[in-house]
């Protein structure tokens, strides 16, 4: 057992302070455990989100010493014994209270994505080869913790939530576009409604993904390439014009 120091944000969207707490920490504890102890013993009304406590649900996202993390998977021994650990709610979304942000914007984005549309002719026992779905499965590991949305410059610093759907939903789009059974075409939406051009590939989203999904390289860049192929490749443009109804115009 050792006494450790914390600074936790207490307040709401309009006002708040970093409050100091000290708490006894046991071997093997994660940051969420320490916050739970503070909550039970010193701050019964402190708001925080958590669920599975095993890195599988993506509820407990916060910023710990400035880094966006799942607090259930952040061990206390990642920090020095004398270090004060500061915890704030996700900063790219409005603060509800204390360590909880209002992430409902993300749920709204998902509704704007054209849903999965399988080939009706293949109905029954669908055949898909493992090697053809490996990439889609990588994207489907996403926990919806929104850490990537939280660090995305377009959403966080430029505050352009009306122009870009964000990395989480870019990989959702990628998982649909690369699904072997899907027949819908989302490329026009990827370009226009969802704003693929806004991303300037700084890979901050990939860095914070707790599932280590290669968001930028495997998801966003291939989507950008599909947009380029469709809209900016002169030969392909002609091809679409002549043979396909899914013309960009």
């Amino acid at each position: 057992m050792a006494l450790r120091n914390f600074k936790l944000f207490r307040g709401n969207q309009n006002e708040g302070t970093m409050e100091h707490y000290s708490v006894e920490v046991d071997k093997g504890m994660v940051v969420l455990d320490a916050i739970h102890h503070i909550q039970a013993e010193q701050a019964g009304d402190m708001a925080l989100r958590w669920n599975c406590k095993a890195g599988k649900c993506g509820s407990c996202s916060v910023e710990i010493n400035g880094k966006p993390k799942l607090s259930c998977m952040t061990r206390m021994n990642e920090y020095g014994p004398e270090e004060t650990i500061s915890v704030r709610p996700l900063q790219s979304f409005p603060v509800m209270k204390d360590l909880v942000s209002d992430v409902s914007w993300n749920y709204e984005q998902n509704k704007n994505i054209t849903p999965f549309k399988p080939d009706p002719l293949k109905k029954g026992n669908y055949i898909m080869m493992q090697e053809d779905i490996d990439r889609v499965q990588e994207f489907r590991k996403c926990l919806e913790c929104y850490l990537c949305q939280n660090v995305c410059h377009v959403l966080r610093d430029q505050r352009q939530k009306d122009k870009f759907i964000g990395p989480r939903f870019m990989i959702r789009l990628a998982s649909l576009e690369m699904h072997p059974l899907d027949t819908a075409d989302r490329i026009p939406d990827v370009k226009d409604t969802h704003g693929s051009g806004m991303c300037n590939i700084t890979r901050c989203c990939t860095d914070v993904c707790p599932e280590h999904i290669q968001i930028t390289d495997n998801g966003i860049i291939p989507l950008k390439e599909r947009v380029v192929d469709r809209y900016y490749d002169p030969l392909l443009r002609l091809f679409y014009k002549l043979f396909r109804r899914k013309s960009p115009n």
Partner: protein, 616 residues
């Protein structure tokens, strides 16, 4: 309080709980044209279904063509020690394959066989590799698939909204009062039917795989509304929870580890499961390490390793080793996959287990064995419902998934929960649709009922002094862990029930500090009523059942008693407010189902083969 100031929203049906069962029920309702409201305590997609790791059981026959619903049914009944509701177990086994295929049509991406079909893995108590899976994150795949399907279908989702209690118009359901967690404001739902899909009540125990949400809300609400609870004594202790470090004690380690070949050993390096094979399963279980190894290598004539016996058996065996002083350093057993599979296989088949141990226990499971021990995981019992419609005895009140009783009897097989969610979620949805079509008038709201519910919630904040809700909860967890744990006796249970009487008194005076805005202390206090109803029901039922069957183990009544097989224990609220506990005679099983469940496996396999040959 002026009730007209509280927002009232109307839907045909309200589904409470957005795990697999609630989502599937809501999808069914809205597909069939009902105005559907889905109310959940957490954000959408965070319910405990995401923690289901191993897979969903369905006799697709992709990994072993011999599989058939009859074999799945037989496995489920034997695993449940024949206390399952026969009709429910039949519906479950018959409909599971269709529900899994439907998920694929909705965008789920399961792991594949070499020929491109949905792959299936071995699990405890299942005769063949039967669990459709996605690595060890099957639950996430299912919840995300249902969530994405649901939001495009016009379901209205009320996130971070806690259901408090049900409203009734005379005998039938008329609505529900709920509370927005963020603002603390109340909301009244007026509806013709409510489907409860609230999961279990694992948070009454100290060591549990369940998250904060599992406070038996559905049990408490249904009980208060006049529905019955059944089989509550059957609480499953999953044999493999983490035991170290202390802060993660109880966190689930998937049965998939054993499905992929993992073995259990004690401190003497003995593979102790070979000493724990019961007569019922002896004919189908390997009795040498050599045979178990052949099975793992894919020899279809070899029998299954004893590590894949049902969860009740494995959990008791681990406990026995620890009690005998042969436990691991932190009071569990060793679960070893490192010597069975190469590192690459382990990381591919069990990625989240690898990650979980690496981060939380600083242990590399491709090199070292894990330490595991029993953790309260699942309620086989729950709200008593009709098998086909999932309706309780309260008209308009339905229940499905973990919060309903019946499919699993005295012990659930791994993988049968995800299939139960899908099958019974859909049944409950259809049940509500049929019920609503027959309802001619919209039920009336009773303001007085709503006021009382709101008043008892706000009293917790308004009292000047009172007990700390976190501490009351901690005491409850201690009591249930010690007195209503993995092994029970009349004495322990008697003390437990007495302890609950005291906790009911403390609860009557519970006090939460702070305001009504996103106040976890208040939320904790509000869940205590449901936790206490749940705990009392489990303790009383456990005391009444004087035998050991499946997950219910009595030190003072060893072994299954044939006489007890004829009864379910049913609990309900009486006129004077106390809980009644009653032995209720079970229905005669259907003769054909009885025949299937009691056939030898050889005879059933031959029968299935003949059937498949004749149908081509």
């Amino acid at each position: 309080m002026n009730i007209t100031e509280i927002k009232t929203v109307e839907h045909d049906v309200i589904v409470l709980g957005a795990g697999g069962a609630g989502l599937r029920a809501a999808i069914e309702c809205s597909m069939q044209g009902l105005s559907t409201g889905l109310v959940c305590k957490s954000l959408l997609g965070k319910a405990h279904t995401v923690m289901a790791e191993g897979g969903v059981a369905a006799s697709l026959g992709n990994a072993d063509a011999r599989d058939h619903w009859k074999v799945h049914f037989r496995d489920t009944m034997r695993g449940g020690k024949f206390l399952n509701n026969w009709r429910m177990a039949e519906l479950h086994a018959k409909q599971a394959p269709e529900r899994v295929r439907e998920l694929e049509e909705w965008g789920a991406v399961f792991d594949r066989t070499k020929t491109g079909l949905i792959n299936q893995r071995n699990f405890g108590g299942h005769r063949y590799p039967r669990l459709a899976h996605v690595g060890d994150r099957t639950g996430l795949e299912i919840i995300r698939t249902l969530q994405d399907r649901g939001i495009h279908q016009g379901i209205e989702v009320y996130m971070e909204c806690t259901g408090l209690d049900l409203l009734k118009d005379k005998d039938r359901i008329s609505g529900m009062v709920a509370m927005w967690r963020e603002t603390g404001e109340f909301i009244i739902f007026r509806c013709k039917a409510v489907i409860l899909a609230t999961g279990g009540g694992g948070k009454a125990w100290k060591i549990t795989s369940n998250s904060w949400e599992y406070t038996g809300d559905g049990y408490g609400m249904a009980y208060e509304a006049g529905a019955e609870l059944m089989d509550m004594e059957f609480t499953q202790f999953h044999p493999t929870g983490m035991v170290w470090p202390p802060s993660v004690r109880g966190t689930l380690v998937t049965e998939g580890v054993r499905g992929e070949g993992g073995i259990l050993v004690n401190a003497d390096e003995e593979r102790f499961m070979f000493n724990n094979i019961s007569n019922r399963f002896a004919a189908e279980t390997a009795d040498t390490e050599e045979e178990a190894a052949r099975w793992l290598a894919g020899d279809k004539d070899a029998r299954r390793p004893p590590e894949l016996l049902t969860r009740d058996v494995v959990a008791r065996a681990i406990r026995k080793e620890v009690q005998a002083g042969r436990g691991s350093p932190h009071g569990g057993a060793f679960l070893d996959i490192a010597t069975r599979r190469n590192a690459e296989d382990i990381k591919r088949k069990l990625p989240s287990m690898y990650h979980q141990f690496k981060v939380l226990a600083e242990l590399d499971i491709t090199k070292d064995p894990m330490e595991v021990g029993p953790t309260l995981h699942y309620f086989m019992g729950g709200i008593r419902v009709d098998a086909d419609s999932q309706m309780t005895r309260v008209p308009g009140l339905f229940a499905c998934g973990e919060c309903a009783a019946g499919v699993h009897g005295a012990n659930r097989l791994g993988g049968n929960s995800l299939s139960d969610l899908l099958v019974c979620g859909k049944l409950a949805g259809s049940g509500a649709v049929n019920y609503i079509q027959a309802v001619s008038t919209v039920p009336e709201l009773n303001d007085e009922q709503a006021k009382n519910i709101i008043r008892s919630a706000t009293n917790i904040l308004n009292r000047d002094t009172g007990g700390n809700p976190y501490l009351i909860h901690e005491k409850l967890q201690e009591l249930m862990q010690n007195n209503v744990g993995i092994v029970r006796s009349d004495e322990l249970l008697g003390e437990g029930i007495q302890g609950l009487v005291d906790l009911w008194e403390e609860y009557a005076n519970v006090k939460a500090d702070g305001t009504s805005q996103f106040n976890p202390g208040w939320h904790e206090a509000l869940s205590l009523r449901n936790l206490l109803v749940t705990s009392e029901a489990v303790a009383r039922a456990a005391r009444m059942r004087e035998e050991s069957r499946g997950a219910h183990t009595r030190l003072d009544f060893e072994g299954e008693q044939a006489a007890w097989l004829q009864y379910n224990i049913v609990l309900k609220k009486t006129e004077d407010g106390s809980m009644s506990t009653e032995k209720v005679l079970r229905d005669e099983p259907d003769a054909e189902l009885m025949r299937i469940a009691n056939l030898s496996i050889e005879a059933l396999e031959a029968e299935v083969l003949r059937e498949k040959d004749s149908t081509g």
